[in-house]
């Protein structure tokens, strides 16, 4: 072979050996998961909260048949909206966007939804007076080598006396828990996976509006309301989902997105029964009581945030981040404090208890300028029964076990099933919604 011929052939061979596999691999590589999926089965989703709505939204984008069964008369789960109470719309449930480095941050940018960084100041109710700073740093619940004991016990161990009780209760309340049951170790462990960013944002409209306009609107025609599921029979290939009126829905795959409180309380009978390991995992995930009380006043006598009350450990000016400015103070009540207020038996008793505490803090100005109240008690809502999930002492890997699918038929989503540190949040619920659809479709194609 002449030199020119050799060069030509070897060059072509070399280029071909490189380009042909490259072009082939490029063609094989799809930009999306399951881009060619053609699943003819039916998926039923139980629960029209953020996780259920988003799972439906994803299934719709893939052309898969689905139905969402919702126990209540509205979608949104722990997202809800109140209008007419003030001159701005009020979030009855989830209110703050905790960090915007997540899928909702992308959705907010895409939809040009208006949000505002919440930089409101805080005062502490400490030793019966309002102070701007505490004598001691209470940020002791983060770091290495933390023990698996409760916030309350650890605070005492670290020398935070009884005067700090309700400040610590506020920190636990942020996690939806009592200080006596929230684990220092597991809470810190799960917080280490947090990757959404530290800043909190408020919506000029409401969180509910974002979910309604950008997600629920795509799937609202697929929601069957007032359908309280009480039995799931997955003993055969076809899953039968029974509601309390004995209406039976059939599915090939089922995604359960109900709050962990519902799974813990055995409101839904599974046939065959779920593995003991699974039900034990449910019981280890905490979910405490929670309520939001909105107090409307004629004068703005209160600070932007008040931390450490014995009736309510966290008050917040609800007008922060809103375009209008009626004087509305939110009492964000969690754990034992929410249980106590619930035990008072009526909204007016709850309101009076809170006004009494505020009068003590602000020399009687609360009662003097009080106009109206709205109590949203998530604990007494039969389809929610609490605030959000938290990490209990001795929890171990309960979330991971709880989130495991059953027999490639039943999948578990919702904020309590988030394993990426985003539990307790709307973005966390959404992440589990699409995560479980990925899992489901992986099982379909295998």
């Amino acid at each position: 072979m002449k030199r020119r011929g050799f060069l030509k052939q070897s060059s072509l061979l070399s280029i071909g050996s490189l380009l042909i596999p490259s072009v082939y691999m490029s063609a094989c590589r799809k930009g999306n998961l399951f881009s060619d999926i053609d699943y003819k089965g039916k998926v039923v989703i139980v629960g029209a909260g953020a996780a259920g709505l988003y799972a439906g939204y994803i299934l719709k984008s893939k052309g898969i048949d689905f139905q969402i069964l919702e126990a209540g008369a509205n979608f949104g789960g722990r997202l809800a909206k109140l209008t007419g109470f003030a001159n701005f719309p009020i979030d009855l449930g989830a209110q703050w966007l905790h960090g915007k480095n997540n899928i909702l941050g992308d959705l907010i940018k895409k939809s040009e939804t208006k949000i505002t960084l919440d930089e409101s100041d805080a005062k502490f109710w400490f030793n019966n007076q309002l102070v701007t700073e505490l004598p001691r740093d209470v940020n002791i619940f983060e770091g290495d080598n933390l023990p698996d004991i409760s916030f309350e016990e650890y605070a005492i161990q670290q020398g935070l006396g009884n005067e700090y009780k309700f400040v610590v209760e506020n920190l636990a309340g942020d996690q939806g828990a009592d200080a006596s049951t929230l684990s220092v170790y597991y809470n810190n462990l799960e917080e280490e996976n947090w990757s959404s960013g530290d800043d909190d944002f408020k919506f000029q409209e409401t969180y509910f509006d974002l979910i309604d306009k950008e997600i629920a609107s795509h799937v609202s025609d697929k929601i069957v309301f007032n359908t309280v599921v009480n039995k799931i029979d997955y003993s055969n290939d076809e899953i039968k989902i029974h509601d309390i009126n004995d209406i039976v829905f059939q599915a090939d795959k089922l995604i359960i997105t109900v709050p962990i409180s519902i799974l813990k309380s055995n409101d839904i009978l599974f046939q065959p029964t779920l593995p003991t390991e699974k039900t034990n995992a449910f019981s280890k995930i905490g979910m405490g009581a929670g309520m939001k009380v909105f107090l409307k006043f004629s004068n703005k006598f209160f600070d932007q945030n008040i931390i450490g009350g014995s009736i309510c450990a966290a008050y917040a000016d609800d007008s922060v981040g809103k375009a209008q400015s009626d004087k509305v103070l939110l009492a964000f009540v969690m754990g034992e404090q929410a249980e106590y207020l619930t035990s008072l038996g009526s909204d007016s008793a709850i309101t009076q208890a809170l006004l009494g505490e505020l009068d003590l803090m602000y020399n009687g100005q609360a009662t003097a300028s009080f106009l109206a109240a709205h109590v949203e008690n998530w604990t007494t809502n039969p389809f929610i029964r609490g605030a959000y999930s938290y990490s209990t002492v001795g929890m171990g890997n309960a979330r991971a076990i709880a989130a495991q699918p059953i027999d490639k038929k039943i999948y578990f989503a919702g904020e309590a099933m988030n394993l990426n540190g985003h539990h307790q949040t709307v973005q966390g619920a959404i992440e589990t919604g699409y995560r479980e659809v990925i899992q489901l479709l992986n099982d379909v194609v295998k």
């Binding site: 280029i15 930009g31 998961l33």
Partner: protein
């Protein structure tokens, strides 16, 4: 500082004196990193509200500088420093997302050259340290994916093979087209998913293998 500067000058002087050939290379790179594909695929899957999907990292460009040291043997040794850049851009209404990946590779290489004057065929085997830097811009602003962190770094090792044909010009000047294949069995990049899909451990592993192929030209000095 002076001692260090003097050391550097001596080092590079020795480097140039000892080197038989200096090469500047440029070319196109095809890259396949399966775990990074998964992160982008999950991003696309989970965001049906974006009309245009994020492309996978696929084709990019790269340059490198190589020093081959003098020897009478057919096997020579050398070092090279390579840089590659790949971009993934998706423009949606109100949401433009750009991922930029840069890869830097210092490489020790073994250069085999057929001393037969009738053939300019050569091949190089390389062992590289691979450093990757991934950043994201959303609507033109550098994306802070976790409390002041703007870039996801990765580190790993690579083996590579290059085949080229050298056309001698005047003196030491030469020109050679080449093809190269490289394999990185393990590149540790724990924050890549956090930057792309804004989750940790949901879409992909904290490490990825990388396959890449390159086609280019080399100019010898």
């Amino acid at each position: 500082m002076r001692k260090f500067a003097a050391f550097l000058i001596m080092f590079f002087t020795a480097f140039l004196v000892l080197s038989q050939e200096t090469k500047i290379e440029g070319g196109l790179v095809y890259m396949f990193a399966p775990q990074w594909d998964k992160a982008i695929q999950t991003y696309n899957f989970s965001r049906p509200f974006l009309e245009n999907q994020q492309p996978l990292f696929d084709i990019g460009g790269g340059i490198s500088a190589t020093q081959i040291f003098g020897s009478k043997n057919r096997l020579k040794h050398g070092f090279s420093l390579s840089g590659f850049s790949l971009e993934s851009r998706a423009k949606n209404e109100s949401f433009e997302n750009v991922l930029r990946l840069g890869i830097l590779k210092p490489t020790y290489l073994m250069h085999f050259f057929n001393s037969d004057k009738t053939s300019g065929l050569y091949t190089e085997f390389g062992l590289s340290l691979v450093i990757s830097v991934l950043s994201r811009k959303v609507n033109g602003s550098l994306f802070d994916f976790n409390e002041g962190r703007y870039r996801a770094y990765g580190i790993g090792g690579e083996i590579s093979n290059k085949v080229g044909y050298r056309f001698e010009k005047k003196g030491k000047l030469s020109f050679s087209p080449f093809v190269a294949l490289a394999y990185t069995p393990y590149l540790y990049s724990p924050n890549t998913e956090g930057l792309i899909n804004q989750t940790q451990g949901l879409a992909s592993k904290s490490w990825t293998p990388i396959f890449n192929a390159q086609i280019g030209v080399s100019f010898g000095l």
